[in-house]
Subunit: 123 residues, 2 copies
DNA sequence: GCCTGTCCTGGCCACCCGGCCAGTTTCGCA
DNA sequence: TGCGAAACTGGCCGGGTGGCCAGGACAGGC
């Protein structure tokens, strides 16, 4: 009863390149235990082009910088971040300044965009 | 010579669930024409858990709002956006206000985060 | 016609943001 | 024991941001 279920893994394809998508679809459709998802069907996993996070290449961010970055990504203002972390607004600005420098961003919006692109934070 | 190349599609797995990852790895490793990527190897496609963008559920954004949103995501200030689109700063603020309302965001940073989450823009 | 939606513009104003200056404490490492 | 990195705090200030008020032009649907 080791193979009593094997309930078929439903995969969805999210490939822009038509040639690659076709080849993958052809290969995967012939695999027992796998099924490609119908349009709109809930899939257990998705095949996407490229690899988003294969080379995270972590920028050296301190723990505190990660804290304020996470709150920034949620749209929190400096004042809100200060309250959340029990620090002063000045300290928040200090960390934000370091983040803008390390992430090579021109503002907080650019900072979270860069961080999300590099996989530093999960949007 | 229709099958002279078929240079093997390299797939990488990004699955948190160990059981699902194992089953997928076992199934995919037996497929001719496919190969699982070695750690650090560049992959043509990646299998990720869930489907990030299966239901985009597009919010009704006007073309101009999409223009402003795209420039916002690049960290542009209102003044820069105004210059890019050849409109006044006041008009940019008007569209930004509409975006904050439609995206249910508290600020421009929150707006691009929400938009990226919903797949409205590609970060 | 009239009305709705989109796009555009202006002024005003409180607040926020980012950058500059300065300082303190605490920690680990040479 | 000195020394740098990290974290924290303060004041100051120019410019950016977001919300409010008001208006006009222009296309499409009733």
């Amino acid at each position: 009863m080791s193979e009593d279920k094997t309930p078929e893994i439903v995969l969805s394809l999210e490939i822009d390149d038509p040639a690659l998508a076709d080849r993958l679809a052809a290969l995967l459709s012939g695999v027992a235990g796998l099924r490609l998802a119908a349009p709109g069907e809930h899939a257990a996993a998705t095949v996407v082009a490229r690899d988003p996070r294969s080379m995270p290449e972590d920028i050296a961010l301190t723990q505190r910088e990660l804290d304020v970055l996470a709150l920034m990504a949620e749209g929190s203002s400096n004042k809100m971040i200060a309250r959340q972390l029990n620090i002063s607004v000045h300290t928040v600005k200090f960390h934000v300044g370091s983040l803008l420098d390390k992430l090579d961003a021109t503002g907080r919006t650019d900072a979270v965009a860069h961080a999300a692109r590099r996989g530093v934070i999960e949007l």
